[in-house]
C-alpha cells in the first residue's frame, strides 16, 4: 500500500495536525514504507481466529453508577491555557 500526498493530507486533517506542504511529501514516503512493512501480516492465515480484545482475560469490573469524585472545578481548570469564570474557552463556534 502506497500513500500519496493527498491521502496524508486527509489523514492530517482527520488527526487535527496542521502540517506544512513540505512535510506532507516527506511523510507520504515514510508512511508508505511503514505500511509496506506491515503488509506482511497478509501472509498469516487468521481464518476463524477471534481478534484479541483483552490482554489479561478478565471480565471488566462493575461498580454502582454514582458520583465518587469531584467538586473542585478550580483544580480541574488549573492547567487550562485560557480558563474564564469557571469554564474552558474556545474560539466562537456558533455564528
Amino acid at each position: 500500500m502506497s500513500l500519496d500526498k493527498d491521502t496524508v493530507k486527509k489523514l492530517a486533517t482527520l488527526a487535527r495536525l496542521d502540517l506544512p506542504e513540505a512535510e506532507l511529501t516527506h511523510l507520504a514516503g515514510e508512511l508508505s514504507n511503514i505500511m509496506q512493512f506491515v503488509e506482511q501480516l497478509g501472509e498469516v492465515n487468521t481464518d476463524g481466529v477471534a481478534p484479541m480484545t483483552s490482554v489479561a482475560h478478565m471480565t471488566l469490573p462493575r461498580r454502582k453508577d454514582e458520583v465518587t469524585d469531584g467538586g473542585y472545578p478550580e483544580r480541574v481548570l488549573a492547567n487550562a491555557p485560557d480558563a474564564m469564570d469557571g469554564f474552558y474557552t474556545v474560539p466562537k463556534v456558533v455564528e
Partner: protein, 492 residues
C-alpha cells in the same frame, strides 16, 4: 561518586534500619550525584528540596519504627507518571508546563512505601522511541563509553532512557519505567542494569500518561534483581481506578528468589535466532543457557511460530491506540495552546506545534489503520495475529516454566549513528515486543559485555502473573553471570 550512591536498595535498607546511615545523608549523596551528572540529561525536572523533605520524613518514620518497604530510598520517577504539584511532561512540548493536580497510583504507592523522589526522568516523547532521542528536552546520554572511542556519545535506549541512565550512573538507586514494546527492558540492556516489566495488569496505569493502553505497563529499573523485586513489591497491587488492574493477591516477590531452579524447564525459542543475529549476541545467549543448565534447569528448544509477525502487529496496534489516546491534547483543557480563528484551526495548530516528528508519524499511522475502509484490513487483522502470538506463548508454557532470549539485537548505538528509517529503529524491539503483545512478565538481566565493552542483557519471560518464577530464574542468572562492570566515572 560515593560509597552511598553505590549501595543496592537491599543494602541501603539494612543500613537505614540499623541506623548506620540516615535517609537524609543517602539522599544528599544522590542529589550531589544528580548535579554532577547533568551532562547525561537524565532528568527533565530535578526535585532536590522535595527529596530532602521526604528523606527527613523517612528518618522520622525510621525512628518511630514505622519505616515502609522503601523508606528513605532515593528513586527517579519517569516523567510519564503524574506527580501532584510537580511538572509532568512526557518529554513533550505539548505538556511542557503541565502540573498535575493528582498523583499516579504508582508514584503514590512508592511514596506510601517511604521512597524519596529525586526528580522526573527523561524519556522518548510520550514513550515513543527506542533511543531517548525523541525527547523534546534533548537526548539522554548513556554513561557508558566504547573502548575504541570514548568520545562518541551513546544512547541509553528508550523509552525509559533517563531512568536507565540515572540508575546505571549511580544517580538513583532505582527508577520507575514503563514498557509498551520494550521500553523498560531494552534501555536496561543498553545500560547494564535490571529492568522488569511485570504482567499486564500487575501495576495500575492510573495517572500514567497513556501511549498504548493495551500494552503499557509500569515496572522497576534497578541494579540488582533483588532490588527489582523489592521495588515491584511497593508498586504492584489492585487499583479500582484502573479497570484493567488485576484483582489478585501480590506475592512476596523477594521471597521467590530461592536460588533453586533445579528441575525447571527453560524454553529456548528457535525463532529468536534469525540468520542475521550477531555472533556476539548468539554467544551471550548460549552462555546464559549454560549457566541455567549448570544450576540444574533443563533447556528445551521451543517454537513460537508467529514471532516474525510481532513487530508488524505492534506497529499497527500501538499507533492505533496512540492516535486515540493522544486525541485528548486539544489546546483547550490543559497543555500548550496555539490560537486559531476556528476551533478546528486551534486544535490543528496546537497539535502540530506541540507534538514532535515521531509522535506525529505514529498518530497518522494510527489514524490511517483505524479509518473507515481500512479498519478490518489492518487493525482487526493485527488483533487476530496478536491472538496467535499470545497462543504461541500459551502453548509453550504448557511445557516450559520460563523462556530465555536476548533482550536486544545489539549493544547501545551512538547518537546520530542511525539512519532516518523508522522501521530500522523499530528492530531494536524485535525480542521484546512479542511478550508485550501477549501481556507477559519479562525481565532483562545484564550478563555480559560486547567487544566494545558495552553491556548486553538477556531476557527471561514467564507465564501471566508468575513474576515469581521469572525473578527466581533471573536471580540465578544474575549470580552466575556475575556482571560487575560499571560505566565511565563509576568505580566500585
Amino acid at each position: 561518586m560515593s560509597e552511598l550512591t553505590n549501595l543496592t536498595i537491599a543494602d541501603a535498607r539494612a543500613k537505614l534500619a540499623k541506623g548506620e546511615i540516615s535517609a537524609v545523608e543517602l539522599t544528599e549523596a544522590h542529589i550531589l550525584a544528580m548535579e554532577a551528572a547533568r551532562g547525561l540529561n537524565a532528568f527533565v525536572t530535578e526535585t532536590p528540596e522535595l527529596a530532602l523533605e521526604r528523606a527527613r520524613e523517612a528518618d522520622a518514620a525510621q525512628q518511630k519504627g514505622e519505616a515502609g518497604l522503601l523508606s528513605g530510598i532515593p528513586l527517579g520517577i519517569k516523567d510519564l507518571f503524574a506527580t501532584e504539584g510537580v511538572r509532568t511532561t512526557a518529554s513533550s512540548k505539548i505538556l511542557e508546563n503541565f502540573v498535575p493536580p493528582y498523583e499516579s497510583t504508582i508514584s503514590a504507592n512508592l511514596k506510601k512505601a517511604g521512597a524519596v523522589m529525586l526528580g522526573k526522568t527523561s524519556l522518548d516523547e510520550f514513550a515513543m522511541g527506542s533511543s531517548n532521542m525523541t525527547s523534546a528536552f534533548g537526548p539522554v546520554i548513556s554513561p557508558w563509553k566504547r573502548k575504541s572511542n570514548s568520545n562518541a556519545q551513546l544512547v541509553p535506549g528508550g523509552s525509559s532512557g533517563g531512568s536507565a541512565s540515572a540508575v546505571s550512573a549511580r544517580i538513583a538507586m532505582g527508577a520507575t519505567g514503563t514498557d509498551t514494546g520494550g521500553s523498560i527492558r531494552q534501555p536496561a540492556s543498553f545500560c547494564g542494569i535490571v529492568g522488569f516489566k511485570p504482567t499486564y495488569g500487575r501495576c495500575s496505569r492510573w495517572g500514567t500518561i497513556a501511549f498504548a493502553s493495551s500494552l503499557d505497563q509500569a515496572g522497576p529499573m534497578t541494579r540488582t534483581v533483588k532490588d527489582a523485586a523489592l521495588m515491584l513489591q511497593a508498586m504492584a497491587g489492585h487499583d479500582p481506578k484502573d479497570s484493567t488492574s488485576a484483582n489478585i493477591a501480590v506475592p512476596d516477590f523477594a521471597a521467590a528468589m530461592t536460588g533453586d531452579i533445579r528441575g525447571l524447564k527453560i524454553g529456548i525459542p528457535k525463532e529468536y535466532r534469525p540468520d542475521g543475529l550477531s555472533a556476539e549476541i548468539s554467544k551471550l545467549w548460549d552462555d546464559g543457557i549454560e549457566m541455567l543448565k549448570a544450576a540444574g534447569a533443563t533447556p528445551v528448544e521451543i517454537s513460537l511460530p508467529h514471532t516474525k509477525y510481532a513487530l508488524a502487529t505492534y506497529y499497527i496496534v500501538a499507533p492505533a491506540e496512540c492516535s486515540s489516546n493522544l486525541a485528548r491534547y486539544d489546546g483547550v483543557r490543559y497543555g500548550m495552546r496555539v490560537e486559531g480563528k476556528t476551533l478546528d484551526e486551534l486544535y490543528a495548530k496546537t497539535r502540530a506545534a506541540g507534538f514532535g516528528q515521531e509522535v506525529r508519524r505514529r498518530i497518522l499511522i494510527g489514524t490511517y489503520v483505524l479509518s473507515a475502509g481500512y479498519y478490518d484490513a489492518y487493525y482487526t487483522k493485527a488483533q487476530k495475529v496478536r491472538a496467535l502470538i499470545a497462543e504461541d506463548f500459551r502453548k509453550a508454557f504448557e511445557t516450559v516454566d520460563a523462556i530465555l532470549t536476548p533482550t536486544a539485537p545489539s549493544a547501545a548505538f551512538g547518537l546520530g549513528e542511525t539512519n532516518d528509517d523508522p522501521v530500522a529503529m523499530w528492530l531494536n524491539d524485535v525480542f521484546t515486543v512479542p511478550a508485550s503483545l501477549a501481556g507477559l512478565p519479562g525481565i532483562s538481566v545484564p550478563t555480559g559485555l560486547s567487544s566494545e565493552g558495552l553491556p548486553l542483557g538477556l531476557q527471561l519471560l514467564g507465564r501471566p502473573f508468575d513474576e515469581e518464577t521469572v525473578l527466581k530464574v533471573a536471580g540465578v542468572l544474575e549470580s552466575a553471570a556475575g556482571f560487575k562492570a560499571t560505566p565511565n566515572g563509576v568505580e566500585i
